[in-house]
Symmetry: C2
Subunit: 192 residues, 2 copies
Amino acid sequence: MDKLKEMIIEKGEIREGNILKVDSFLNHQLDTQFLYEMGEEMYRLFKDQEITKILTIEVSGIAIAIMAALVFKVPVVFAKKTESLNLDKDVYVGKVFSYTKNKEYNIMISKKYLNSNDKLLIIDDFLAEGNAMKGLIDMAKQSNAEVKGIGIAIEKGFQKGGKILREEGYNLKSLAIVDEMKNGSITFREVD
Amino acid sequence: MDKLKEMIIEKGEIREGNILKVDSFLNHQLDTQFLYEMGEEMYRLFKDQEITKILTIEVSGIAIAIMAALVFKVPVVFAKKTESLNLDKDVYVGKVFSYTKNKEYNIMISKKYLNSNDKLLIIDDFLAEGNAMKGLIDMAKQSNAEVKGIGIAIEKGFQKGGKILREEGYNLKSLAIVDEMKNGSITFREVD
């Protein structure tokens, strides 16, 4: 998505440790109209998948997920992060390893909101090592829902999450794939 | 907003401690189309206020805030909860007392995304004691932005947040005000 590449070049900030900050339009301030356009692009990419529900994870997946859901005319379910060890039995639990915090935490979804009739599009803002995505897919499997697609705003192509998911056969599409961030300059991979 | 009252009656769950759970459409699963309608209702209530930006707080304010923002055609800024004590100087910091956790935590907004030119509509899903709202208003004051309105989905009228904010002169409007939850039955206040 050309406009996303332009926004990243114009407004993204590269920080130490291969961090790409896009706080001005995606992660802190939200460019509403542009998020809606990303939702439309998600629809273009996945409209033939008979999606019944969009799955994402709090916090920063919610805005783009609900914009896409508005175009798809389906509900969103977002997984909640929790420190609680005593989770009630009516939830699916996924595990996510956080590199920034160097620890594993739980994410959960109520069993009420995910089941074997669901054809899911999983949406998130970033894909790097794919840890959050692994947790989401694991919960989708527990519910016997079908993962029909994975839509990412910004994929870090130099980390292994996207490669692994594609090798596993997931229908993963990213609106922009950053292959390199070096000396303040960003190289994108060509995507359709 | 009649439809919101109906949704609360039909889908809300009353739990011990005056907890009203609306996980099926507002706090875990998101009823996309209905959230958009709530956004339209926020527009009807505040359209004359020349709003330039919608302010909310993670997590559960984000979905309704961005839907309203789509109708208003303005950006959203969401305050982030943080446990960090070493915040950088480029942020406004607000304090929020959490009754459920019985401790105070910080919320923050980058100074880049809030300033004296902003005419704010502050949106949140719930208003009870008004602790989160107090933190948001405090940060708005630090930035010299003007708070033109406060839009709440569900106000708990039996807690004091709404009363205090109205007495302080804020233009507060709630789409539904719950005045009592007793024996599984909910009493609403009449609102226009």
